[in-house]
C-alpha cells in the first residue's frame, strides 16, 4: 500500500533539482502536469527582457480568476432580487469575502491589461510572422474572450454600473444591421432587462466563456510548441545563419559528404546549438512558479488595500450622471458618444459607427495583420528592429489614440458627459429624482 502510494506520488511529482539531464527530461516527458512543456528551452526565451513573461502572467491571472470565480459561485445568487444583496454579503458578512471578491475583480482588470500588453510585446517583436500567424489569430480570439468575460462579469453584481452597461451594451448590439434586433432579444431573453437577462449573462460568464477561453488557451500553448517556441528562437537561428560555424576538420564519408556545395554540417549549424538551450526542469518550472507567485501576491496586495467598486443597486429609473464604463471600455464609450453622423436626411447612430463598425474594423485589421505585414522575416524575435519601423509606428499611434480616449473618458468627462478640465468646478448632478 505504502509502496503503491509512493509510486503514484512519483508519477505526479518531480525533482526540483534533477541530478542529470536525463532525470530532468524524464520529469517533463513522464509527468502529467509538465508533459506539455518542451524538455529543453532556449536561453533567449527564458530571458526576462524578451517576453517580459506577460503571457505567463496572463495565464496566471486566468488561473486565479478561475479559482476565485468558482469560490464566488458559492455565495452569489443570479437573481435580480438577490444578486446585489449577495455581493453586499460578500463585502460585509462573509469572512474574507471582501478580499475574495476584490481579488477576482483586480485579477480581471489586470488580465485585460496584461493580455493587451502581451499582444503589444508580440507585435513589437514581430513574433506573429510565418508559421506563428495562426497563433496570433488565436491570441486575438483570447483577447476578445477576455473582454467579453470582463463585460459579462461586471454585470453580475446588478448595481447601477451593471444595469446601465447591459442597457448600453445590448442597445449597441441592436444597432447591428439585419440581425441586431434578434441579437438583442436573444441576449436579453426578451425585450426588457430582467431576470432572464441576468441568468443568461451569468451562464455565459461562469461556464460558456471560460470554457471557450480554456480551450483556446490550451491550443495557444500547443501552437507555441508546434511553432518552435517563442519568436526569440528565430532571432538566434538568423544569427547562426549569418555566422555559420566553421566546418569540422573531420571528413564525412556519408552520402551527403559526397555532394558538392555546402556540406551537411553547415546546414545543421542553422539549428539551435546545445549552448543555446537549458533544461526546462527546473529552469522553466521554477520561473513559472515565480511569475505566478509575483502575480498572485500583486493581486492579493491590491485586494487588501483597494476595494472593488460597487455602485448603488440597479435602478432603471435613474441613470447615474455621468455613467461611466470601466476604464478598458471607456474608449468605446467615447467612440459611441461622438460618432453619430448626419449626411443630408440620413442619420447614422454612433451606436453603429462607434459601437460596431469601428471596433469591428479594428478587430479584423488586428486579425489579418500578419498577412498584411510585409516586413522581412529576419526581423522576427527582436524588439523594435529598424526594418519594422512602419508597422510599429502604426501600432503605437493606434495605442496612443486608445489611451488618450481612455484618459479623456476617465478623467475629463463629468456630468452630462461634458468635458471638465482639471480645476473646473463640476456641478453635483442628483442621482435620485
Amino acid at each position: 500500500m505504502g509502496e503503491q502510494l509512493a509510486k503514484l506520488w512519483r508519477k505526479i511529482s518531480w525533482s526540483w533539482s534533477p541530478g542529470s539531464e536525463r532525470e530532468s527530461s524524464e520529469a517533463i516527458v513522464r509527468n502529467l502536469w509538465l508533459h506539455w512543456f518542451p524538455a529543453k528551452i532556449t536561453r533567449a526565451a527564458m530571458s526576462w527582457n524578451y517576453s517580459l513573461w506577460l503571457g505567463t502572467a496572463a495565464a496566471s491571472l486566468f488561473f486565479i480568476l478561475t479559482v476565485t470565480g468558482v469560490m464566488l459561485m458559492f455565495f452569489y445568487v443570479p437573481s435580480t432580487e438577490r444578486a446585489y444583496g449577495s455581493i453586499k454579503d460578500l463585502q460585509y458578512a462573509v469572512s474574507f469575502g471582501r478580499v475574495l471578491r476584490n481579488q477576482h475583480r483586480w485579477a480581471a482588470e489586470g488580465m485585460v491589461a496584461v493580455v493587451f500588453l502581451h499582444m503589444a510585446r508580440v507585435f513589437f517583436t514581430g513574433a506573429y510572422r510565418g508559421t506563428r500567424a495562426a497563433n496570433w489569430l488565436v491570441g486575438v480570439g483570447l483577447l476578445l474572450a477576455t473582454l467579453l468575460l470582463s463585460f459579462t462579469g461586471y454585470l453580475l453584481p446588478w448595481d447601477q454600473l451593471a444595469f446601465w452597461a447591459v442597457t448600453v451594451g445590448t442597445n449597441i448590439a441592436r444597432e447591428a444591421p439585419v440581425v441586431g434586433g434578434t441579437m438583442r432579444f436573444l441576449l436579453l431573453g426578451g425585450t426588457q432587462i430582467d431576470q432572464q437577462t441576468l441568468l443568461r449573462f451569468y451562464v455565459l460568464h461562469v461556464f460558456f466563456l471560460p470554457a471557450v477561453l480554456w480551450v483556446m488557451f490550451a491550443y495557444h500553448m500547443w501552437r507555441v510548441r508546434k511553432d518552435g517556441g517563442l519568436g526569440a528562437v528565430e532571432a538566434i537561428k538568423a544569427d547562426r545563419r549569418m555566422a555559420p560555424k566553421p566546418m569540422p576538420a573531420t571528413k564525412s564519408y556519408s552520402l551527403f559528404g559526397l555532394t558538392p556545395g555546402t556540406s551537411v554540417q553547415v546546414m545543421s549549424s542553422t539549428e539551435l546549438e546545445a549552448e543555446d538551450q537549458v533544461v526546462s526542469s527546473p529552469n522553466l518550472t521554477r520561473r513559472i512558479v515565480l511569475v505566478f507567485l509575483i502575480v498572485f501576491n500583486a493581486t492579493l496586495l491590491a485586494s487588501i488595500f483597494f476595494n472593488a467598486p460597487l455602485e448603488e443597486a440597479a435602478n432603471p429609473a435613474v441613470t447615474p450622471n455621468p455613467a461611466k464604463a470601466p476604464w478598458y471600455f471607456v474608449w468605446l464609450q467615447e467612440l459611441v458618444a461622438s460618432t453619430t453622423v448626419h449626411i443630408g436626411p440620413l442619420t447614422i447612430s454612433g451606436g453603429f459607427l462607434g459601437g460596431i463598425l469601428l471596433p469591428g474594423v479594428l478587430l479584423v485589421l488586428l486579425a489579418v495583420w500578419p498577412w498584411l505585414d510585409r516586413s522581412p522575416l529576419s526581423a522576427e524575435g527582436r524588439w523594435f528592429p529598424s526594418s519594422r519601423k512602419t508597422q510599429n509606428r502604426v501600432f503605437v499611434v493606434a495605442m496612443i489614440a486608445i489611451v488618450l480616449l481612455i484618459v479623456v473618458g476617465v478623467f475629463l468627462r463629468g456630468p452630462n458627459w461634458r468635458i471638465y478640465w482639471p480645476g473646473m468646478p463640476r456641478p453635483q448632478a442628483p442621482t435620485v429624482l
Binding site: 448600453v168 432603471p316 453619430t340
Partner: protein
Amino acid sequence: MSAADKKNVPPTDTERRRVLRLLGKGSVVAAFAAQIGAAARAFFPNVLYEPPTKFKLKRPEEYPPGFTFDAAHRLFVVREEDAFHVISAVCTHLGCTVQWRENEFDCPCHGSRFRPNGSVISGPAPRPLSWFDTRLSPDGFLEVDSAVDVAPGFRFVPPKGQA
C-alpha cells in the same frame, strides 16, 4: 455504347450502395442539425413575463403644470393648461434615462441634449425622443401605450370635468 443504351442499364450494386450510404449518412447529419436547431430555438422565449406596454398613470388633475417624471415607466407627463402629452425618457441613442433640466432633456451616458418637444439639440442621439399615444381610461386615469408613437405636437385634452 450510346447514351440511350446507358440509360437502360440497371444501376450496378456499387452505385446502389453508394446512394444508400449517402442517404444513411445524410439522415444522421440532418437529424443532428435538426437537434441543434431545436436547442437554439429554445433560447428564443415564447412567453415573456414583462409588464404590458399599455398602462395607466395618475388622474389628469393630479399632475401639476409642466414636466413630471414618472420613474416607474421612464417617461415625462407634460401638462400645459388642460392639454397633456407624454414624452419618453429613454434616450434614442443607447437607451439611458434622460433628465429634465432647465428647459432641456440631458442624457448622462453620452451627452445627448433634447429640446422640450423631444427634438435633438446636440449629441449622438440619432432621433428625437418618442411621444406616446395618450388617452383617458374609462375610470378616469391617463392611459399610455408606449408601443404606439404619435407625432410630436400631439395634445390630449381630457373631457371637461376630468382635469
